[in-house]
């Protein structure tokens, strides 16, 4: 068989779109499997130059057209999309479980820190959205003045957001009486910044620190209220 050392464009059948190409087709070229190197997945028609010595001794430069077989093209694309979205979903879940997540704040128990009265409540779009970091849950380095998200002790399906005003060992003066309550070990006292409209430890008592699900660090929405949440020590919370 005679060959001229020119460039031939040959249509090929791919077994594995990564590596091997079977060079075949008309023009009388030698047809055998040639390992030509990696083809980048996203290039639909790469041109790879791979010198191949034919039995006749001629160097044949082949410009390869990457062509998927008809029964292999669409499913592998769909499979790739599925794999990517699965991986993204997993990464998103892990990040929101263990590192940080964004939650909307509903209600006015933490005015004016969140949802101040002067902003019109229009539902989900004007609720404050805050960044809750969960890295603190590893070592529980909570302190006075942290704003935390915790599961409600009376209704375990709800989550509340309040500020810690007393830690274990502190004394709290119970409102409307002369008693003072010592916060037991492993518990904390939470209060909302807006005492008139807040269901907090003054109603359900100190909560175990194990109920806390995260610490609020920043407001992320609406844009005019973006900022860091400071640790504010309350004025009249500690009795002694």
């Amino acid at each position: 068989m005679t060959l001229t050392p020119e460039q031939h464009q040959i249509s090929i059948f791919t077994h594995d779109h990564l590596r091997k190409f079977r060079v075949g087709g008309g023009l009388g070229v030698c047809s055998q499997t040639v390992e030509v190197g990696y083809v980048r997945k996203r290039k639909r028609s790469p041109s790879v130059e791979a010198p191949h010595m034919c039995e006749d001794g001629y160097r044949l430069i082949v410009t390869l057209i990457c062509q998927f077989d008809t029964n292999m093209g669409t499913p592998s694309f769909l499979w790739n999309v599925c794999k990517s979205s699965f991986a993204c979903g997993l990464i998103g879940l892990t990040i929101s479980d263990r590192i940080a997540s964004i939650v909307p704040v509903q209600g006015f128990s933490m005015s004016p820190t969140f949802n101040p009265y002067n902003s019109r409540p229009l539902g989900l779009f004007t609720d404050d959205h805050v960044l809750v970091e969960k890295h603190c849950l590893k070592d529980y380095k909570f302190s006075h003045g942290d704003v935390v998200v915790f599961c409600s002790p009376s209704s375990y399906k709800e989550k509340h957001i309040k500020r810690i005003t007393a830690m274990p060992g502190d004394w709290i003066s119970v409102p409307y009486s002369y008693d003072a309550v010592k916060i037991p070990e492993g518990h904390c006292w939470v209060e909302g910044d807006n005492p008139t409209n807040s269901l907090d430890s003054r109603s359900f008592g100190p909560i175990p620190l194990g109920l806390i699900r995260g610490r609020v660090t920043h407001i992320l929405w609406p844009p005019q209220r973006v900022g860091k949440i400071d640790r504010k020590l309350p004025g009249g919370g500690l009795g002694f």
Partner: protein, 163 residues
């Protein structure tokens, strides 16, 4: 360039497996060793055994909290949030518990837990009812050592409920 691709593929595979494992143990099921003898003879029946019991705990119950009397649960200790305890739920919210001060009602959203080995168990008789939000999972099977592999049943005790 081939080596970099191989390394990247291996990394991706291990990262995916790791993420799947983390997500599964956080949200669906996990394995936990049991220490101490507060749940004898259900777990760790003999003090001198070489290995602690390992149990399989499922977290599907956390979605809707379908707990009931007799479930063995793992929860964060209310006195020391860094520790986890395993005990059995003896009473749910609304039930009455008899203790030394008379009968007290378990408040809403809480449950009363006690160990099977009443003599050496630090449980609700010391720290009171615990909020259901502290529970991390429900124990369903003992999976180690092999001779003690079995399902952990719901056992309802006769004493403990006053009314």
């Amino acid at each position: 360039m081939g080596t970099k691709n191989i390394i990247w593929n291996v990394c991706k595979k291990y990262l995916t497996i790791g993420l799947v494992g983390i997500t599964l143990t956080d949200r669906y099921a996990g394995v936990c060793p049991i220490r101490g003898s507060s749940m004898s003879p259900t777990f760790n029946p003999s003090l001198g055994s070489f290995t602690d019991d390992y149990v399989f705990l499922e977290k599907f119950c956390l979605d809707k909290y379908k707990f009931s009397h007799g479930d063995v649960v793992i929860f964060s200790s209310p006195t020391n949030y860094k520790e986890r305890c395993v005990k059995r739920i003896v009473a749910m919210e609304g039930d009455y518990i008899s203790n030394v001060n008379g009968a007290s009602k378990v408040p809403e959203g809480h449950c009363w837990v006690e160990g099977d080995n009443s003599a050496s168990s630090f449980d609700s008789r010391s720290f009171g009812p615990i909020p259901l939000g502290l529970i991390h999972g429900r124990v369903t099977h003992v999976i180690w050592p092999p001779q003690r592999m079995r399902k952990v049943d719901r056992r309802i005790r006769e004493d403990g409920l006053a009314f």
